[in-house]
Amino acid sequence: MENQAIIEAEGLTKKYGHQIVVNHLNLQIREGEVFGFLGPNGAGKTTTLLMFLGLTEPTSGKVSVIGFDPTRDPFHVKEKVGYLPENVGFYDDMDARQNLQYIARLNRIPDKISGGRIDESLKVVDLIEEVGKKVGTYSKGMRQRLGIAEVLIKEPKLIFLDEPTIGLDPDGTNRMLDLIHSLSREKNITIFLSSHLLDQVQRICDRVGIMIKGNLVAMGPIEELAKKKLGVDKEDYTLEEIYMKYFKEA
């Protein structure tokens, strides 16, 4: 089942008025992979994520996420898909456990089961020591990790991460990237990560897609894109070089 598509988009388009934000996006994400969705700010990455989750309606085109149409059946998609928005928010006057408990209840997980799951996911993100503190006192890195813990509560098949490392210090960034990597390897969760921080994406992603001004200009494994754009001989390429080439062309 390695190559089954978990996300499939065909001609996905979103317009706000006359402005085309996402233009005929065709995309297939396979189960178990870590996919990096790259692009400058305002390229339409978040809008695409919101369409995958059924939080925004596409203007035209088809999309299927874990076998459901998010526009018609957002309920089933949201049951099995985790979403960590950029700069995720929490109820600051509640502690970590209360925050997660609320999300667990919204996911119809009985309190008996959720207690264990909360502990487990807090251990995964290394926050079990801080569980009693109000989330308002957490640092940015801790909040971001708590966001991951929150997403794990529903035992998702697929996680959307919107700029998960933005605003984190180098140490926080490393921990976050290791965490994402281990989720993919150990729990076999498909990860769809949007970012504009290229070196980080290069470290953990199996495949990348480059989106510029609403158009997906390239998609594939990094080596493949490097061969295509930089020539076969070049060995020590960086994603940034490839990206800049595409960016200049677009």
């Binding site: 978040t46 979403y83 700069n87 996911n107 119809r108």
Partner: protein, 321 residues
């Protein structure tokens, strides 16, 4: 349904643990105790050595005492309770960036707004029932009169009308919290609407009536038909104010002796005398007939307001930025 229940539960917990709720309950308890003791002692003094008039118990709520009656208090400050409970319900979640997270959970989108509205209404109901019970309890001690079944019925209808009335203001404030991103703006907008409906519409109704149906001052006297027309126009316009609607309904329901014909210009002295001589209370059913249109209008505006709020919220784009 599950989503509604979970959010409702959390909203209730939030309300109960908030300073806001503490302030509202402190205010309510204070006012309840003050009104009950002032009015109660007043009635005690007045009715010493006399036969107890009918519906003495309801006087606790309608009698003005030295300051204001309880009914007037709720008519005036009730909207503030509603606004207080709702003005930041949606945009607070937006500002703290929890809304998009909430909506990416497997719940229906309308659960969020339904649960928030219902939680607000539940809090309003709790607060109102509590204060009515406080006043009743203290009142019974002070005046020594136990309410009869009709009085209890009238109080229940009064409570329902009050909950609807405050729910309308809750709806208004939630609507603004959906429209405006900033909590300060939504609070100010709600207050502006409150001031407009509560004060300016009443004043405006007088001016409008003067303009549309002026009462001529020249000649021997006033023309009765002009007075009636003036009064009709003024009443029609002022009924657009939920406050007038509510005040009319509640004073009628709580004061069976209240006369609906109030324009005394049209009454001769003998008429007035006979009115004060032969006071007979309106039966409960008749009072109800008078206030049914008011109650229905209150239900209608509350639902209308919440309906608009619901539509706006359901159509809004959920962007994190």
């Amino acid at each position: 349904m599950h989503g509604i229940f979970t959010i409702f539960r959390k909203e209730m917990e939030d309300h109960f643990s908030s300073i806001r709720f503490l302030l509202i309950s402190a205010l309510i308890v204070m006012v309840g105790v003050i009104i009950a003791s002032m009015v109660g002692m007043g009635i005690q003094e007045e009715s010493k050595g006399m036969a107890k008039p009918t519906f003495l118990f309801l006087w606790l709520f309608t009698s003005t005492g030295k300051l204001f009656s309880f009914v007037q208090f709720i008519g005036f400050f009730g909207p503030l309770i509603g606004i207080f409970l709702g003005f930041d319900s949606i945009n607070r979640e937006r500002v703290s960036r929890t809304l998009s997270k909430l909506l990416s959970q497997p719940i229906y989108r309308d659960s969020v707004i339904n649960a928030k509205f219902l939680a607000g209404v539940a809090i309003i109901a709790i607060v109102l029932v509590a204060i009515v019970l406080i006043i009743s309890g203290l009142g019974i001690r002070l005046i020594g009169v136990v309410p009869g079944s009709e009085e209890v019925f009238r109080l229940v209808i009064y409570l329902i009308a009050s909950i609807l009335y405050i729910a309308f203001w809750l709806g208004i404030s939630i609507l603004f919290s959906v429209i405006f991103r900033s909590t300060a703006t939504s609070a100010l907008a709600s207050l502006a609407v409150w001031i407009f409906f509560s004060f300016f519409l009443g004043l405006g109704a007088g001016f409008m009536a003067d303009a549309v149906a002026p009462i001529g001052q020249s000649g021997t006297g006033v023309d009765p038909s002009a007075v009636i027309k003036h009064e009709q126009v003024q009443r029609t316009i002022s009924l657009f104010s939920p406050m007038t609607l509510y005040n009319d309904a509640t004073t009628t329901i709580l004061d069976p002796l209240r006369k609906t014909t109030r324009s005394l210009i049209l009454m001769g002295p003998m008429e007035r005398l006979s009115l004060s001589r032969f006071q007979s209370p309106l039966p409960l059913l008749q009072s109800l007939f008078i206030v049914i249109p008011h109650l229905v209008s209150l239900v209608a505006i509350s639902f209308l307001c919440f309906g608009i709020c619901y539509l706006v919220f359901m159509r809004q784009e959920i962007r994190t930025v």
